[in-house]
Symmetry: C2
Subunit: 428 residues, 2 copies
């Protein structure tokens, strides 16, 4: 006798219901369209690269998945290299650029939407496979700050479109303002990473203590990052704060980005300057972003990113500047589903389903479906030979809001929406 | 000193150029839209499942990739199960259905577009990671033959849209006609698989010999499968061939499918009955399909599939009928690129690029871009502070067919297409 198979999903590999997947697909499609409308081309790299390259670019070996065979056969598998699954889209992008530097048209505007894997401890809301939606612009030498501003414009377009009823805010800062501030207080550059991480954790742990520094220094930092006001007020306040060259450079960059945001007509209520935004990762060097849904700050940032100087140096010995953002699609949507912030009543995008009182009428139903489709209506035809009640059950389970019932002598229309019902009745 | 990193892609994991990826994305989007228009909902399952389930459903253990960690830490990784990467979309679908049988609305119309992995010997045109585009309809009990016909209609819609200038033909058969024919000649049912594989290989090896059977039997088979004519002529000829119940059943099914194709108005020149189509895989039980591009038969079938009775029996002890098709996107497109059958001149979908004679004019360029975009034109704004010649080089490398050059006192338009040029000039 065969042992019973365990058919459940492996821990940390999430599976969404058809109705949730409809939302996931809608988000992916909308995000992809907005990326494209802003001049970014989708570029998919392999799921797998040589493990050595992931480690060289800061991957956590304990979390990196590598490929093996279920059973090995020497003759078939001659690969000596350890092949690892990507844990983000940035390292594969760096590898792509290193491989194809001479063919690429710079600035290189690249988008990607797809899965990455991290062997983290699986826990509620943390997954081992999840979709990330990224864009990056990579320059061959310098890269205009207009790209930094465009990222904000794109985030705004995306959340305006995805959640038109939901307020969101893009919080902008510049790393050089923070590191310049630390330097102005003679902090050791070796400490900067720790200081940035301290800031990064402030929102989660407002009472955290900064170890190894006098309490006065912590107080000065907190006072500084709590500077509030309109963007112009903050920029104005900062002018008097320090004349450290790095601080000044950061301030000038942020001032230019703010000016460009206005040129690009990003609405004022969608973004602000927040000096607490540090982004923990150590590769950011200029503009940084986080995005919050107002009233749902507990979700964390739904879209983050920033400017970096050194995309592919470890692979090609050349500094390439870039700026990018990433939407953690799986994690954000999982939380939005949990909190019932997103409607998941409908399973597919059919506006209408055609049911038949008798399966001998299927030919008419198919013909009617074809006609309505040619008029731009999304129609499903129920084709099985089942009693009408079973057909209604199906339509209900799918959440399709309008039913056409084809009978021998008449055709009925039942819709939640009366206006749509009249539109359909006029068409059939 | 650090050893130089090998940044090349691992063998068998393909990487396409930005221009090729533009075509890949266009195909994926078009295929997804047609799947959806026909009532199929995208349902993505995890890339990873328990290896035991893949083996139970006929996976080749030598080709199945499993996950390990680059470095293990017991505290983090407590999974005892072997997790394997999917090698097709059918087994994950069977697992999904087994897991969610009671929640699913049947007939369950599911689509998926995404990567699968097989650890085959890497060779020209054969990849270890490749995208498959699948749809399947799964019934809880019986499943109407209208679904079998709909598959043909969908294949036709897809290739009509993707390659409007290219003739294609969908070749249809029914497995029961073949097995009924074998049975009518008293062939041992244990031999059917071998006989079907013999047929399946005929096109590649027209001189192959059928081992272990008298030459007369091979001749009878060949004579039978070479029956040609219009669908109606073939159906008519077959009526007189055998009265074996399985043969009759297959013939009746095929006759109904043909009738439904006409109801669905699939053009006559896009499909035919071809008795040589056997589909090697042993799970098909009824209708089977292959699709060829006329004049490029060497590509093999670009879309294949068929009817099966037993999707998830090994997982849930219940027979569920289904019918599905699969497009081997990566393999087909790779070959079409190789044969230069597809234009890959353009890198992105921008119709227009706005260049600036001086970077101080960037604000005007951005504004103009926004205006044109609001009129439905796909526009890219060149934002870097570079000499105009560099900007032209970029536009050329990207293959963008129309350039707007913003100057201090004038704005010029240069387009390949004069009509489009006039349209743009009227808008600016």
């Amino acid at each position: 006798m065969m042992a019973k198979l365990n058919t459940s999903t492996p821990s940390g590999f999430p599976e969404f219901s058809p109705a949730e997947q409809r939302v996931i697909q809608h988000w992916k499609k909308t995000i992809a369209e907005i990326f494209e409308a802003n001049g970014f081309s989708m570029l998919e790299t392999p799921l797998v690269e040589r493990a050595e390259n992931f480690e060289a670019k800061g991957g956590n070996a304990k979390e990196i998945y590598v490929l093996d065979r279920l059973r090995r056969e020497e003759a078939v598998d001659q690969d000596k290299d350890i092949r690892a699954i990507r844990f983000d889209h940035t390292v594969p992008l760096a590898l792509y650029v290193a491989r194809h530097f001479n063919e690429i048209a710079f600035p290189f505007r690249r988008s990607v939407i797809g899965p990455v894997m991290r062997g983290e401890r699986a826990q509620k809301g943390r997954f081992r496979q999840f979709d990330q939606c990224d864009i990056d612009v990579i320059g061959s030498e310098k890269l205009s700050l207009a790209n930094d501003a465009q990222m904000v414009a794109i985030i705004a377009q995306i959340f305006e479109k995805l959640m038109p009823e939901q307020k969101f805010v893009i919080r902008i800062n510049n790393r050089k303002i923070l590191t310049g501030f630390f330097a102005a207080f003679n902090a050791d550059p070796a400490e900067f990473k720790k200081l940035l991480e301290f800031l990064d954790n402030l929102e989660k742990n407002p009472n955290a203590k900064l170890e190894g520094h006098p309490i006065e220094f912590q107080e000065r930092i907190l006072e500084f990052v709590e500077t509030t006001g309109t963007p112009d007020e903050i920029l104005d306040t900062l002018k008097a704060f320090s004349d450290h060259p790095e601080f000044i450079e950061g301030l000038e960059e942020l001032t230019k980005v703010v000016k460009l945001l206005r040129t690009m007509k990003v609405p004022d209520n969608q973004w602000l300057i927040d000096l607490r935004i540090a982004r923990g990762l150590d590769y950011y060097t200029g503009t940084v972003y986080e995005t919050n849904l107002v009233g749902y700050e507990n979700l964390g940032s739904v879209c983050s990113g920033g400017r970096y100087d050194d995309l592919a140096k470890v692979f090609m010995g050349k500094n390439l500047p870039g700026v990018g953002i990433s939407i953690g699609l799986t994690r954000s949507l999982w939380q939005l589903f949990e909190d019932k912030l997103i409607d998941t009543k409908r399973v597919n995008n059919s506006d209408v389903i055609i049911l038949s009182r008798d399966n001998s009428l299927l030919a008419s139903s198919l013909q009617l479906g074809k006609e309505l489709r040619s008029k731009g209506i999304s129609v499903e035809v129920y084709m099985e030979d089942k009693k009408i009640q079973k057909q209604f059950d199906y339509a209900k389970k799918m959440g399709i809001p309008c039913h056409i019932i084809v009978g021998e002598n008449d055709t009925q229309v039942e819709c939640d929406n009366l206006e749509f019902k009249m539109q359909i009745e006029n068409l059939i």
